[in-house]
Symmetry: C2
Subunit: 543 residues, 2 copies
């Protein structure tokens, strides 16, 4: 027996028309490279989306063609976020930090027919355009940057196209909610990037979840500033969620310096922002001099949040960094570190430890931990570790064009996340490592992320990454690569003494290397692959 | 091009398994008729649901058979809420307040194969069982009521069946999200009740929306007490939402007296509750003597909330009554009266008026107002009125077995709600009447709900209903049927004077009748049909 409910597909035109109809007076602010701000109401923005829809037709983009973007976080980028999927096309956000060979690979693999490029980013894109014969047009979004625009028939002006276009009239219609809406390539540290293809359905469901109280809780009264780039997994779903909720939006544009971020929060009374831990680490020294009292939440994701950083924000700002865990393949929100009521009455130490957990799965997401060697499902006792495997309607089932051959998916269709975690009896996940970064010492696992967190709690340590190096007896032993605070130094003995009552004895690093910085991937995560290459054949002092 | 996301259906087994896995330690309290309380953890409750699933097989209920319930709000009722749909059956909540002819009609029309009846309700159900040959079993949920249980082979004991059953092992699976999950009959004031059939998909999406910040915002820390009966449109979706969010739950059982409600709130530190305005009107005199500081929200729905009542709660409790608008056909949440940020800086009067609006449509719900005569869509200027038409994935597209012949649905598949409203430019709806209750006077509409709200603002008035009576010149004119506060009286002149600067002059009632009570329908709404019958042929004083 079937239900007798209306057959309304979960498609992005609903988000567009809802914002246009209910939230027309709300504002979107974009910081421009020249220090000025571009301000549009949602009503005006919506009218521009309607023009852009016509422009895509004018440019001859196929009915389901890929629309590449090579842009900062701006309200114009959000125009593309809607106009492409609402007209049946597929938004493809290109990561501006990719190596140019990867950029060319990705744009070609996706089949981008047109690429929209911020003028300030043209020097990163244009030199490679001849390697992309499928790209018929490069549409330049003039952000006022002092960058020459080549005289080439492929180059078009975004604003000129919009000015000349008729706004699309009537309602956008996408009938099948399983239609592709957007795609984003993973920045895997091995092999070529792999394409994740979001559907309208997955994006709508994920957007709904950005509104829930025990989640991002986006609400009409919020002023949201996504610092996380819009080319990273839809900026964690914030932009679509904001349109659905009717928030004001602040886009930081190209200047992601700590000063610029803090200024925007203060000036526009931002209530919600989000970005990788490095951003908030850099902002830390500026906390004192600004009125940031408008903030109710700072989302943090992309890598584990150091406990000391989280506590520093909590004590000085009254707002801890709230963990979002996920990855490109999970749209990205899988879990959030909202504290459960079972922690009522917990000690300060317990609370601090709880705040840096990755937290509970979102509604509709189901997760388990599995022993990476035996495939056995592990218990939720906060002790046993296993690889996190995830399922849910906004989690990938395969990569575009079958790349990777399904190795990252289980026989029952779950995503192997490559993260290793424990789970407590309340369903809160705590990441201890990546499967490929785990150190196997004397038959036991050492979780490097967990060990790094403890090292970063040392007052002299700014950043730390731990890698395994070969050991004749124990197979592998940990090497700590540490960035010390300005003017400080640190010895292995000091570090081991500090860690002595914080980790198991056999977790204590066998060696310490002071480094200028921890190398990062294009999305800002620690690149342990680079470290392992750098310290290949490392001679441990006691080996 | 299709998205490459996992094909995970939106089905209720997710709600069950999420609650079982993440929230096992949370509590469900049920008040019993004898004054004691039944307390179960979610873990224990989930184990009972697994047993109940087996019981449904044992009883021989068909694979998609209708499972009737005739129950108060209890944790056992919630066992049925999950066990029926998670095993592919269809939960059918019978309204215990239906006239017995309607009850028999509804149970037979739905095809109930078994009916689960609270022992305290057996006297209302059992006398009619012989008229229901399709009902093979009547399973009695012994709530300790002092009521004889007939010696009849059809009678089974809920607890004995559960004790004897093996818990269902493994995961529940419902593959097709469009499968029927539950059904509920409307209590229309004309004609036979009509069946609304909820699907798993509609119920899941609706449940998600009960979690959103600008909605019910159910969260793990909440203690939720649904006073709204579980036989009214799934108790507004609260029970499923609570399981998804992981709240504690308090079920009031049969005693819905003001004293019992207030005691439960105080004793269990209830944070969220919801029910029709009459409930909160009756609770009002008890507000002073109890510590109700745990409440963060009181949802109110089913009929318009009088402004005076809303303000009384806000001033005395710090929590206004928050409007939920909807109907059985809308699952039921269509809009909620959350205040928009455009009201920042509004006057007290403006805010009070805003608080009793029905509010903005929920995400995924799309609404319009349409002139009931011309079919023309009306503007959102808060002045023009029209019939509310709604669409969305949890809104009915037809009635069970095609009853009503589609008259309540538009050609483009929207639900005609029968409510008449204005909409302000911010998308907030304000109900002024039911289409069938509108009074047409001299070619202009008079909104009776709006007029009643103003009458109920009079300090001597407890309740008021307005109906149209025939007038030789104006076609119809308003008659106010008023219940005065104890010991008070009221004249037509007094009333007209009070209303003079509150409504248009031609809205002033032509007549006043003092009545002992406003007749109510089985779901607690004003029954104007009964009033119109009572005052048929009424002679207006000035006609």
């Amino acid at each position: 027996m079937l239900g007798l409910m209306q057959d309304r597909p979960l498609t992005l035109p609903h988000v567009f028309h809802r914002a246009e109809q209910l939230f027309g007076r709300k504002r979107m602010v974009t910081a421009r490279p020249d220090g000025t701000e571009d301000v549009v109401t949602v009503a005006r923005w919506a009218e521009r989306v309607r023009r852009l829809a016509t422009v895509l037709d004018t440019l001859g983009v196929s009915a389901d063609g890929r629309v590449g973007t090579f842009c900062w976080n701006t309200s114009r980028h959000l125009e593309l976020y809607l106009a492409a999927p609402c007209t049946g096309r597929v938004l493809h956000t290109l990561n501006i930090r990719l190596h140019h060979d990867q950029l060319v690979y990705v744009a070609e693999h996706a089949g981008d027919e047109v690429v929209f490029v911020d003028r300030s980013l043209l020097p990163l894109f244009w030199p490679h355009v001849d390697r992309l014969p499928g790209v018929a047009h490069v549409v330049v979004l003039d952000d006022g940057a002092d960058v020459a625009v080549p005289d080439d028939p492929r180059i078009r002006s975004y604003e000129e196209l919009l000015a000349a276009a008729e706004p699309y009239a009537g309602r956008f219609v996408v009938d099948d909610e399983n239609t592709a809406a957007a795609m984003c390539y993973t920045s895997g540290t091995t092999g070529n990037p792999k394409g994740v293809v979001y559907s309208h359905r997955s994006t709508m469901l994920h957007s709904l979840v950005t509104l829930i109280a025990d989640g991002p809780a986006l609400a009409e009264r919020d002023v949201v500033m996504p610092v996380v780039p819009m080319f990273h997994a839809n900026a964690w779903g914030l932009p679509y969620g904001c349109l659905l909720a009717g928030t004001d939006l602040v886009f930081p544009g190209p200047d992601l310096s700590p000063g610029a971020i803090v200024d925007l929060v203060e000036r526009h009374r931002v209530t919600v922002t989000g970005g990788v831990p490095t951003i908030w680490m850099n902002v830390l020294p500026l906390l004192g001099g600004h009125d940031l009292s408008s903030l109710r939440t700072i989302f943090c994701g992309g890598s584990a949040v150091p406990k000391a950083l989280c506590e520093e924000y909590r004590v000085r700002l009254g707002v801890p960094l709230l963990h979002i865990w996920g990855m490109t393949e999970t749209s990205p929100i899988g879990t959030m570190g909202v504290l459960g009521s079972h922690l009522d009455g917990a000690s300060d130490d317990e609370l601090a430890a709880a705040r840096v957990r990755q937290g509970r799965p979102m509604p509709l997401v189901e997760m388990r931990i599995v022993d990476p060697e035996t495939g056995e499902e592990m218990p939720w006792d906060d002790h046993a570790t296993g690889e996190v495997q995830a399922s849910g309607p906004w989690i990938a089932k395969e990569y575009y064009r079958g790349e990777g051959g399904g190795a990252q998916f289980t026989d029952d269709g779950r995503l192997r996340t490559g993260d290793v975690a424990t789970v407590d009896p309340y369903g809160s996940f705590r990441l201890v490592d990546r499967t490929k970064d785990l150190i196997k010492s004397g038959g036991e696992w050492i979780g490097t992320v967990e060990l790094e967190n403890e090292i970063m709690a040392h007052p002299k340590v700014a950043e730390a990454a731990v890698i395994g190096v070969a050991h004749p007896r124990w197979v592998e032993r940990p090497l700590a690569c540490v960035v010390v605070e300005d003017g400080e130094s640190l010895t292995l003995d000091e570090l081991r003494e500090f860690l002595a009552d914080r980790v198991a004895k056999w977790w204590l690093p066998d060696a310490l290397e002071l480094v200028d910085e921890v190398p990062k991937t294009s999305v800002g995560k620690f690149s342990k692959k680079t470290l392992r290459e750098r310290f290949a054949g490392y001679a441990l002092p006691n080996a």
